[in-house]
Amino acid sequence: MVDYFIQHILSFSIWVPVLAGIVVLATANDSKPNVTRWLALLGGILSFLVTIPLYTHFNFADGGFQFQEGFSWIPAFNINYHLGVDGIAIPLILLTSFTTVIVIISAWEVIEKRVAQYMASFLIMSGLMIGVFSALDAILYYVFWEAMLIPMFLIIGIWGGPNRVYATVKFFLYTLLGSLLMLVAFIYLYYQTGSFDITAYYRLPIPLNVQVLIFLAFFAAFAVKIPMWPVHTWLPDAHVEAPTGGSVVLAAIALKLGGYSFLRFAMPIAPDASHHLSGYMIALSLIAIVYIALVALVQKDMKKLIAYSSISHMGFVTLGFFIFNNLGLEGAVVQMVSHGFISAAMFLCVGVLYDRVHSRQIESYGGVANTMPVFAAFVVLFAMANSGLPGTSGFVGEFMVILGAIQVNFWYAFLASFTLIFGAAYTLWMVKRVFYGEIANEKVAALKDLNKREFLILAILALLVLALGIYPQPLTDMTNATVTQLLSHLAQSKLPASLPSGL
């Protein structure tokens, strides 16, 4: 029984939340929203518990794929239901199932219309995103990748702000465009290898010009998702309009899908093209880090500010990928996880304010610390983490990436560390304007401090941010073997000895 469960743990991780979502939908009763809420919470917690053995049963010395399982799914095209995870995927899976619980709790009495559909969307999306992280078959991966757009599209569109339709359609079409080009690359690779098995793609020798095209097709899909400058414009729109839970999932997980996919597809399948184009990628990353940080500085909308800060932080991730060394890559993975906690916390904090005052504008606030002292303490902690203060998780990843970058080129590291200053500037300036000073208006004066539910989720996140900042070892232990193996794979050229018939 236990063996069976461990052998199929990835399937359980994917399908338990999906099933929970369906149950929530099927038992929906608008007159008893509390039943729905408890049911959704139960499903979310169950889904989280199911993923825990991924950590406890993980073989830390093995950099390859573990917990593999599979069967033939569509033999006509040699498509398999093939799952497996390595040390990079597991932290992200745990992050996903954890964030879903947080989102369900955070929506408790905030979401009043169509509660069941809201909860079910998040549960189903959680399963689909775990599917993205664990699929080892390109089409299976693609199905999860695209399918998760559907619940997100509905979440932003139904429960979002006034301009939600524009934001959600833009989000959907941007992502769809990129991923369809990726699909073309998959089909091309299928005709070269005869299967959609990702590991077969790793071994396939490909001439450089084709590698570049494949890399660009993947780039179209992943750069939009991360998002990299200049295809980032959907993100601020989506974040601003999305309900709090939608923003949390977008920032904490959806962006990581892009980062993870770079490591899973673009780089190992086209390593020579990755090296070839790394200059451009680093340039785009640095632009994101510096320029987007400056953009964040002038934002008037808190959610937009955090959205831009996310883009800037994800610039560190792509920078870490494309400097091709151990510190950089590992730092990027740590940064992804850490950003998952911090951005989730920041968006939840904005949600707390928005639920009370119904404004996201910085100028609507002032002196909130006087009326909400506990809340202000949390926000200051997360703000510090967001600007990379040592002792918080935000520091570890950025520091590792900067150390990695300095080994490659001093100026990369120099420009990247600039962000630490900018990051501190835009985050702390926002905190100052919102929380300190005189009480700005009677709405602020009437504010009540955190209730138990809000305190609970923020406290959990605060603990995690501190824990990861003080003792990141469990996370780096997990990724270490995988990162080493990935780098040695990336160091080998995949160019064929003699040119085959090209495209």
Binding site: P75, A76, R114, I150, R164, T168, F172, I187
Partner: protein, 482 residues
């Protein structure tokens, strides 16, 4: 004597349906209007019997009947079964609609059954005249059906338009056929192929004939630049008839193209590939771009059909077993999607009210979350978003085109698919993000609700497990053409 027996057994489903159609027409005269449900049941039973006959006499081998004018192969049987299934769904979906609009008469069922026979003959025709007769039987039944609601001015106009343009297309087709006949001396598909393989031919006459044939077929399929009739006829016809026109006849047209272009004119493949390519690209562009501007749901679906036809042509232009299989898979998927889509319009319509404006879908999620969800599946399937059937349809077609070496066309089609996604998303937006303007409860008979639910959920279920349908299509094509 043996021969005649074989001939009759091979064509037994067609014979049964023709007889039953005439019987229904007669029986209707003697039935009280309150007992008309008997006609409906009779029509459904007819389809069931025909399906049983087709299924039980099925063999994977290819058999010829009526001195080689009629063929019974795997593709014919598979397509016929699909046609029965689709027609049966049409009967279920349309019953309430035609009851409320004075069209609930024997003629409706008889004409639909006649059109089914026409489609079956197109599917099985192995002779240019047989094919043509099948096509005309189908077309004439459809013209009459469009005009069935006599006092409806829009429908009459649509019927007129459909008839005039359809007759023109038939003429072109016939003209092209006569040139092929002149060059090869035969009307029989296999003999034409042999003659073209062997003899010396005047290429220019053949090409001219081919152009006329392709133009005629493109008209019937509704591919650009012969698409002008599609939106007008879709919009003008009573929705129950639109449901018919937009769905099953495409299966027959697919078979017609395979018989004519691949089995008969295979040696000219290089030439018709180019024509199909141009039409495919134009159809995808014009279909998708024009659909964005529509406010009428039926018109929007008409343009969406044009773009779907473009994707089918994409599969066909690969001119390989893989390509034809993918095109068949696409068209079967398309029929299932379009049945569910128009079925939903029928479900939302009621006496004196046609739910044909896009705005009529507003707030459907609040009126009926279940039906909004079904429509959501249909729309995402049409847009080609996994895990729905429509994704695999696009996937198979694109991989076939990529295998045939059309890399940049595939990239182009993919970009157009994104444009296409936009107007499907708009429908979802109306259903989910907007407040309802129409607060009437949805009235529909239970059988229709259940069947429509199964139909829409099938798009999701087959999307999760597409292997069965893929194998069926591959079986049909490889046994018939391999």
């Amino acid at each position: 004597m043996e021969n005649i027996r074989y001939d009759l057994i091979t064509a037994l489903p067609e014979i049964v349906i023709v007889c039953m159609a005439m019987f229904i027409l007669l029986a209707d005269l003697f039935l009280k209007s309150s007992n008309r449900i008997a006609i409906y049941v009779l029509a459904q039973v007819t389809l069931l019997v025909a399906a049983y006959l087709t299924f039980s006499t099925h063999t994977p081998s290819v058999g010829y009947a009526f001195t080689g004018t009629f063929v019974d192969d795997a593709m014919a049987d598979v397509l016929k079964l699909m046609i029965y299934l689709g027609t049966s769904l049409i009967f279920v979906y349309s019953r309430q609609y035609i009851q409320l609009r004075e069209m609930y008469r024997g003629e409706f069922y008889a004409l639909v059954l006649f059109s089914v026979v026409g489609m079956m003959i197109m599917v099985s025709g192995q002779n240019m005249l047989t094919l043509y007769v099948g096509l005309e039987l189908l077309s004439l039944s459809l013209y009459a059906l469009v005009a069935l609601d006599r006092d409806n001015a829009r429908a009459t106009e649509a019927a007129m338009k459909y008839f005039v343009l359809g007759a023109l297309a038939s003429g072109m087709l016939l003209y092209g056929m006569s040139m092929i006949y002149g060059m090869t001396g035969s009307l029989n598909i296999s003999e034409i192929n042999n003659a073209l393989m062997g003899g010396e031919n005047v290429q220019s006459v053949l090409i001219l004939g081919l152009v006329f044939i392709v133009a005629g077929l493109a008209f019937k399929l509704g591919a650009v630049p012969f698409q002008m009739w599609v939106p007008d006829v879709y919009e003008g016809s009573p929705t129950a008839i639109t449901l018919l026109i937009s769905s099953v006849p495409k299966l027959a047209a697919f078979a017609f193209i395979i018989r004519m272009l691949e089995q008969g004119l295979h040696t000219l493949a290089v030439d018709w590939q180019q024509m199909l390519m141009i039409m495919a690209v134009l159809s995808i562009v014009i279909g998708n771009v024009t659909a964005i501007a529509q406010t009428n749901l039926k018109r929007m679906l008409a343009y969406s059909t044009i773009s779907h036809v473009g994707f089918v042509l994409f599969g066909l232009m690969s001119a390989s077993i893989n390509g034809f299989t993918s095109a068949l898979f696409y068209i079967v998927s398309y029929v299932l999607m379009t049945l569910a889509g128009f079925g939903m319009i029928l479900l939302l319509s009621r006496k004196g009210f046609e739910a044909e404006k896009l705005d009529d879908l507003k707030g459907l999620n609040q009126r009926s979350p279940w039906h909004a969800f079904l429509m959501l599946i249909v729309m995402f399937s049409m847009a080609g978003v996994p895990p729905t059937l429509g994704f695999y349809a696009k996937f198979t077609v694109l991989q076939a085109a990529l295998q045939a070496g059309f890399l940049w066309l595939v990239v182009f089609a993919v970009l157009m698919a994104v444009i296409g996604a936009f107007y499907y998303l708009r429908v979802i937006k109306l259903m989910y993000f907007d407040e309802p303007v129409d607060h009437h409860p949805i009235q529909a008979p239970m059988d229709m609700r259940i069947v429509l639910g199964v139909n829409a959920l099938a798009l999701l279920a087959i999307g999760l497990m597409p292997q069965g349908l893929m194998e069926l299509c591959s079986y049909a094509i490889s046994k018939s053409l391999g």
